[in-house]
Amino acid sequence: MKGRRLLLGWFGALALVATEVAVALRFPGWAAPAIVLGCCVAALLIVGLVFMRLPSGPPLAHAFVIAVLFWLAVLLGLGGMDPFTRIDYPVPVTRHP
């Protein structure tokens, strides 16, 4: 049963990688990065849930995973808030003596 789950996870992850490549090559539109990153997240979930067996891990491991996702969101969210929302980049004034 566990072996079958592993095999399905492996095939699923490979299918997701194939989808990523096909979408990146065939679709130049704005949706392509979203689809590619969506497939990437799905593949990460497969590795975490099936290969790394997170659901059967100790409760402390679950707490660490939740904590790191929170801090990663803080890092990317707060860090990106200014550069990704700023529309005006004033040219710095250089004063010559």
Binding site: L6, W10, C40, M52, P58
Partner: protein
């Protein structure tokens, strides 16, 4: 086999307690690694936001076939290692050793392909600096992309080398029968690290080879 026969340090109440502490410790280490790579990924996002055309130019100059084959190799190595863990839990030493050998071979194949790819990049003058091989209005952005490319893939390769050492140490201990009595925690702990290195590559792959390629 009774729990009492499993190896246990005196500070733990039971073998299960010891195994849980070891696994949680590895997850904590991996959490610090996620934040380490998180800073790198944030730098990528910031630079890409500033130079979208330059980054797309950089992506179009990477070797997609090599990157895709490497992704398949790493995913397969993770799956094989996980199968090896199942074998260890079933007390099948030969199957575990075979899985460890295949895992290491796939990891070495990954590094060999990556080394070949780097050599090709150097020959095409894609290393940022004087004589950078890409020209035009977006060459500066492409040079930034290749800064990220070499730093990220280099750090990943260092983690792979560490992982290969750990897989080798598990194989050495398995050969001596260390995991024949139902105690497989070290196998599982190293498997977590190996799969984490796979996870890092799964994020790097679209950033380096895919997003912007069809632009």
């Amino acid at each position: 086999m009774s729990d009492a026969a499993l190896p246990r340090e005196l500070q733990y109440a039971s073998p299960q307690h010891q195994a849980g502490a070891a696994l949680a410790g590895m997850w904590l280490f991996l959490a610090t690694e996620v934040l380490f790579f998180g800073g790198l990924f944030f730098a990528y996002l910031f630079c890409r936001h500033q130079h979208p055309a330059g980054f797309a130019l950089g992506v179009r100059n990477t070797e997609l076939v090599t990157g895709t084959v490497n992704t398949v190799l790493l995913l397969s190595s993770s799956a094989v290692y996980a199968a090896g863990l199942l074998a260890a839990e079933a007390g099948r030493r030969r199957a575990l050793l075979l899985a460890l050998a295949v895992t290491a071979a796939l990891g070495i194949a990954f590094l060999a392909l990556k080394g070949h790819e780097w050599l090709d990049d150097f020959h095409r003058h894609l290393f940022p600096g004087r004589g950078f091989g890409l020209h035009g209005p977006h060459a500066g952005g492409a040079a930034l992309f290749f800064c990220f490319y070499f730093v990220a893939t280099g750090l990943h390769a260092l983690h792979m080398l560490g992982g290969l050492g750990l897989v080798g140490s598990i194989a050495w201990r398995a050969r001596r029968g260390a995991f024949d009595r139902g105690w497989t925690t070290p196998v599982e702990v190293v498997g977590l690290y190996w799969s984490f290195v796979d996870c890092v590559w799964l994020v790097l792959f679209p950033l380096i080879y895919l997003i912007g390629r069809a632009a």
